[in-house]
Symmetry: C2
Subunit: 113 residues, 2 copies
């Protein structure tokens, strides 16, 4: 699955930088114009735009231009690939604990409250 | 929450490297002796040990020495911090979709199959 591995690689490299994580955290709340977004980050606009480029290449954000304003937003489901990879790394002990948790939750649902 | 932010940073930096991800993927299956684990990776032992050091510092793996054999294992729950960070980055649209999914699943459970 080279496509999947490449996606995981791109997403993790993109998120390994605190500025880019800051951008993702900000956009998770709401889309924002590049100029407004850039104000929250203490760096030159070219450097900032470079970070946006890496996030775009990783498929994490998208942007749309209306008139002279470019608005950036988080791509819904963009981080799913990372959820998937993380789920695959659960150890056998964790899987067993999860199954036990599900069993107990079901049992509890049937019990009088 | 500087501790939490530092943990997220360390874990993401550690996982941004494909060799270190390979080690995590291998250890998710079962713990392994360093010497055996190293055989699967095409690099010098000192370089390999350096990767193990980064994963250890990030709290992702632990190791134990028995006699002359050092066994490395994935620390259960080590990647929880990343699950948590990812959950925080879900957009409002995704949260709404999740709630709808839970509602539909509950409704379906009550319906005759």
């Amino acid at each position: 699955m080279p496509k999947y591995r490449d996606d995981v690689d791109r997403v993790l490299r993109a998120l390994a930088d605190p500025t880019r994580r800051g951008i993702v955290e900000r956009l998770a709340k709401a889309p924002a114009a590049v100029s407004v977004l850039a104000e929250s980050f203490d760096m030159s606009l070219p450097s900032f735009v470079q970070h946006l480029g890496i996030l775009t290449d990783a498929g994490i954000i998208t942007s749309e231009k209306t008139g002279r304003v470019r608005t950036v937003s988080l791509r819904p489901g963009a981080l799913d690939v990372l959820h998937l990879w993380l789920d695959e790394q659960r150890t056998d002990a964790e899987r067993r604990a999860d199954r036990l948790g599900i069993h107990l939750a079901r049992h509890h649902e049937g019990a009088p409250s």
